[in-house]
């Protein structure tokens, strides 16, 4: 099926997130704007304005009542989903190796954070102390996304790999290798697949062959660590990927400012690597 193209941002997309039920897709970008769309047809539901700097991350709570955004204007804003009442919520300081992404643990008891130096740490949600550490990546962690049941998560790193970890033990389970920095990775809710999006920083792009076009989303088999498919279409590096909670579609947001929603063809669900 042809992908649905969402045009609602004037600058590069920084993150996209589905709500738990999957009917809404949130997108944030460097243009300070937060958009929410219907994932079924790409119709825009609304916009949240108010940030004065690039918005780097977005999430909504489990019953889609509130939306949380984090921005370069040093503030986090909590929005009511249905209206666009802005309530500045809090600003969060940080020391040591800058934290580049974070997700909650399975029961909310700890936060799993990825750092600029490639470390992944578990911070207790009560005390803030480091419970576990994992140093598997050699360069900055760009994105961490958990599986839909929060038992495992995938980390995307500038070291050209994405790795699968157990959320509770931080055991490193799988590695997926590419030749480009990986900006984002997600785990399929229903298949043993992961999707990865990446590309280089804009300033390095001119030194590689644009004809070869490395702006593709790549699908790997989670158990075999082998790549089995690619989806082209973005005109720039892919900054964020996300699976729909039902696993029947996925979305990607790129440096080109576009969000693309892809619904899988039936062959995708039947495809199997010989084993």
């Amino acid at each position: 099926m042809k992908p649905i193209l969402l045009q609602g941002h004037e600058r590069s997309i920084t993150q996209i997130k589905y709500n738990r039920e999957g009917d809404l897709l949130f997108s944030v970008a460097k243009d300070t704007v937060t958009n929410v769309w219907y994932s079924v047809n790409g119709e825009r539901l609304g916009t949240y304005n108010g940030h004065t700097g690039a918005v780097w991350c977005v999430d909504c709570d489990w019953d889609t009542k509130n939306v949380l955004t984090g921005s370069a204007d040093n503030s986090c804003r909590l929005w009511d989903c249905e209206t666009d009442d802005n309530q500045p919520y809090l600003s969060v300081p940080c020391s040591d190796h800058k934290i580049t992404s974070a997700v909650w643990g399975p029961l909310g008891e700890f936060v799993i954070a990825g750092h600029e130096n490639g470390e992944i740490n578990q911070f207790s949600a009560k005390s803030g102390e480091v419970l576990k550490k994992a140093k598997e990546h050699s360069r900055q962690i760009n994105d961490i996304q958990p599986s839909v049941d929060l038992t495992i998560f995938i980390s995307a790193s500038k070291d050209n790999t994405a790795k699968l970890f157990d959320s509770t033990s931080l055991d490193h389970i799988k590695t997926f290798k590419t030749e480009r920095p990986v900006n984002s990775a997600a785990i399929s809710p229903i298949m043993d697949h992961v999707v990865m999006g990446g590309g280089q920083e804009a300033m390095e792009v001119t030194t590689t062959s644009t004809r070869i076009g490395k702006f593709e989303a790549r699908f790997f088999h989670a158990a075999y660590e082998e790549e089995f498919g690619r989806v082209k279409g973005h005109f720039g590096p892919i900054n964020c990927v996300a699976f729909h909670p039902d696993g029947k579609s996925y979305s990607s947001g790129g440096e080109d400012g576009y969000v693309r929603i892809h619904y899988f063809d039936p062959q995708y669900f039947d495809f199997e690597l010989e084993a």
Binding site: R20, E21, G22, V40, N41, W62, D63, P106, L107, G108, D149, T151, I152, N160, D166, T168, I173, K174, E179, D192, Q200, E204, T207, T208, S209, I212, A222, A223, Y224, E225, P245, D246, L273, E274, A275
Partner: protein, 670 residues
């Protein structure tokens, strides 16, 4: 009487005499000069000096003085006498110990006349021999260091060649065995070398570089065979026979002890000789003859040729060649080619000289020469001299190729005139063709010439508008790659020169190097981190230009194929094998097919194992997940959010209308 070389029972003979020496000499000398530790090191004892009376003493002293002051300044001389006649041995003291050494080296064995052949020794040597124990001690037997089969890699049943790869910006070095499917790791070590690696010419050794010197590795397990200490070594070169290695370090060089270039014996590890070196701009400074018998270097107006294993100058003197600009050995014979530029009214000329006889086989005069470059064909069958000239009355530079036919009587020379500037030139390694890249970007042309037996040089074919700046022939000849490296973005053209057809045109974006394997079956193109910081990888192609593998390696730096030793087969045997090639082809094809299916079986098994492991892990995780269900319900106030359809009662039904399509149906004229 003639004394033979100092035998081991000498102490018994010489002890009383030495006592004499000591008492006679020491008394005088020590009384005169303050006691210095190295005072004795400058003294030599000359034996077998004629015994003369006072009337001939003056003459004798003059003769001795004349002979021995060649090696240095004689500060003291002592002619012991008994009853008015000299005893037949004398003592000479030089200004420095090095001079005494020179005297021993050069004057020992000097035949003064029929009855008197000088024996010259360092005074301190007597001391040394005095201290030899009375008992004969068998020299300690060095334990035999068995490095295993040094040619182990040649015995690979599938004839895989090895290559070295340096990656992670030099942190890791690995040796791979080349298989068409994927490289097989043989050895991989961190920090094996500090800069880069080199293979020896026949592939026996791998040389690694370190701050303190180089190390040689080999055998099946790449054990360390030998180590050579040369602080700050930066460049090395092997002799073609693999007997010697030459190391260069810009750090080590003193007037007394030249250490910039050292030549080592690989098997014994001994330092054979050290040389000065002003600059390493054109490494290798020493060029070896093909059989390793000679090595030579050029210094202003001089060509110095040394022979092995003595490491001494051939005929004890260098060749004076005024204005010599460049020289090189024939790769097939002991012939040196060199050229000198114009000198007033003497034209520039290229000379071919036979070694060791120094006979000039051929001289060719050249006029209005700007520059010359020597290109030998790999077997020494032909020499091409690329001559850049400015013809009289013109401003521009034109290029000629002077082709010397080495295998024909009188070495005839044919000239090929080129109209455009030359970018690259290369001989077919074991054939009689050569390729030239000429012109200027973007109009670069590739021309192929054949040196025929009938005295003609024929232009076979010219390809125009090529994206190429380098020529790479297969080591077996016939096939070649024209490459546009670096600034030309890695354009590749695979050519079969038997009929000059382009087999394939491809690209390896930003490729910096092209390397043929020693058998001519495979080509590797690579993007080195040393020249380009991204996309570092090496790609494997067949000789026809079919891409087999893309191997990405983090910060890949260098790939070098391991050379093969020359074949042990005779030309007869090779002919026989070529005749039966069809039979062998069948067997090999069958083997290939078998290995293909085996690979997929391996892969399938691997996947199955991975899946089982993964499943087991997921099941365990799922179990824990189930056990935590009650906590989750509690966290969300009793609402079950585990599955999308966990709360069917909570669902709202909503009907949404989508615009899908618009169709205009004309109802016709109503």
């Amino acid at each position: 009487t003639e004394t033979k070389k100092l035998p081991l029972y000498l102490p018994f003979l010489i002890f009383p005499i030495l006592l004499f020496y000591f008492s006679e000499l020491l008394g005088d000398i020590l009384r005169e000069k303050p006691q210095e530790a190295d005072g004795i090191d400058s003294v030599v004892v000359v034996d077998n000096v004629p015994q003369v009376g006072p009337e001939r003493l003056e003459k004798l002293k003059n003769v001795i003085h004349k002979i021995f002051s060649k090696f240095g300044k004689i500060t003291t001389e002592f002619y012991p006498e008994v009853e008015g006649t000299t005893k037949g041995y004398i003592f000479l003291e030089y200004a420095a110990p090095t001079q005494a050494l020179e005297a021993v080296k050069n004057a020992d064995g000097y035949k003064l006349d029929k009855q008197h052949t000088f024996r010259v020794n360092l005074f301190t040597d007597f001391d040394k021999y005095m201290n030899i124990s009375d008992e004969w001690e068998t020299p300690e037997k060095q334990p035999f260091k068995d490095f295993g089969n040094m040619r182990h890699w040649i015995e690979d049943p599938d004839c895989r060649d090895q290559y070295s790869v340096i990656y992670e910006a030099g942190e890791r070095t690995a040796i791979f065995s080349n298989d068409a499917k994927e490289p097989i790791t043989v050895e991989e070590r961190a920090r094996w070398t500090e800069t880069y690696v080199r293979w020896s010419p026949k592939g026996t050794y791998l040389a690694t570089f370190h701050q303190r010197g180089i190390a040689l590795w080999g055998g099946e397990k790449f054990k360390q065979i030998q180590r050579f200490s040369h602080q700050g070594v930066s460049l090395i070169d092997f002799s073609p026979c693999e007997r010697y290695v030459v190391t260069f370090s810009p750090l080590m060089d003193t007037k007394e002890d030249p250490q910039a270039i050292i030549i080592w014996d690989i098997l014994t590890g001994q330092k054979k000789r050290g040389f000065h070196c002003e600059s390493s701009a054109h490494w290798p400074i020493f060029k070896w003859s093909h059989d390793g018998k000679f090595f030579a270097r050029m210094t202003p107006d001089t060509l110095s040729i040394y022979e092995t294993p003595s490491m001494g100058l051939l005929d004890k003197k260098s060749l004076k060649i005024t204005g010599i600009k460049d020289f090189s050995w024939s790769p097939g014979d002991n012939i040196i080619a060199f050229w000198v530029p114009e000198d007033k009214d003497i034209p520039a000329r290229v000379t071919l000289m036979q070694m060791p006889s120094r006979q000039e086989i051929r001289v060719r005069n050249l006029f209005n020469v700007v520059d010359c470059k020597l290109h030998w064909q790999r077997n020494g069958d032909y020499l091409c001299v690329k001559v850049d000239r400015t013809p009289k009355g013109t401003q521009g530079v034109v290029t000629n190729f002077e082709i010397f036919r080495m295998r024909e009587k009188q070495v005839p020379v044919d000239v090929v005139e080129m109209k455009e500037s030359i970018i690259a030139f290369a001989w077919e390694p074991n054939g009689s063709k050569f390729a030239v890249l000429h012109g200027e970007s973007p109009r670069i042309n590739a021309s192929f010439y054949h040196v025929k037996n009938n005295g003609k040089i024929e232009l076979i074919k010219m390809f125009d508008k090529q994206q190429a700046n380098s020529i790479f022939w297969s080591p077996q000849g016939q096939f070649m790659v024209l490459a546009g490296l670096r600034s030309m973005n890695g354009a590749l053209a695979f050519v079969d020169t038997s009929d000059c057809t382009m087999m394939n045109i491809a690209e390896h974006y930003m490729a910096s190097d092209v390397e043929w394997d020693p058998t001519g079956r495979y080509v590797v193109t690579s993007v080195s981190w040393w020249s380009h910081k991204v996309d570092n990888a090496y790609w494997l192609w067949t000789f026809q230009g079919r891409l087999l593998q893309k191997n990405n390696k983090d910060r890949f730096c260098q790939l070098l194929w391991r050379p093969r030793p020359p074949t042990l087969l005779s030309t007869e045997q090779i002919k026989m094998i070529k005749k039966d090639l069809k039979k062998y082809s069948k067997i090999f094809e069958q083997k290939d097919r078998l290995s293909q299916s085996k690979a997929s079986k391996e892969l399938v098994d691997k996947r199955r194992a991975m899946m089982e492991d993964y499943r087991r892990y997921r099941e365990a995780a799922l179990q824990i997940y189930q056990e935590q269900k009650s906590i989750r319900l509690e966290l969300r106030g009793g609402v079950d959010t585990d599955e999308l359809d966990s709360n069917v009662d909570d669902w709202e039904e909503e009907t949404i209308e989508f615009f899908i399509n618009e169709e205009i149906i004309p109802l016709g004229d109503l």
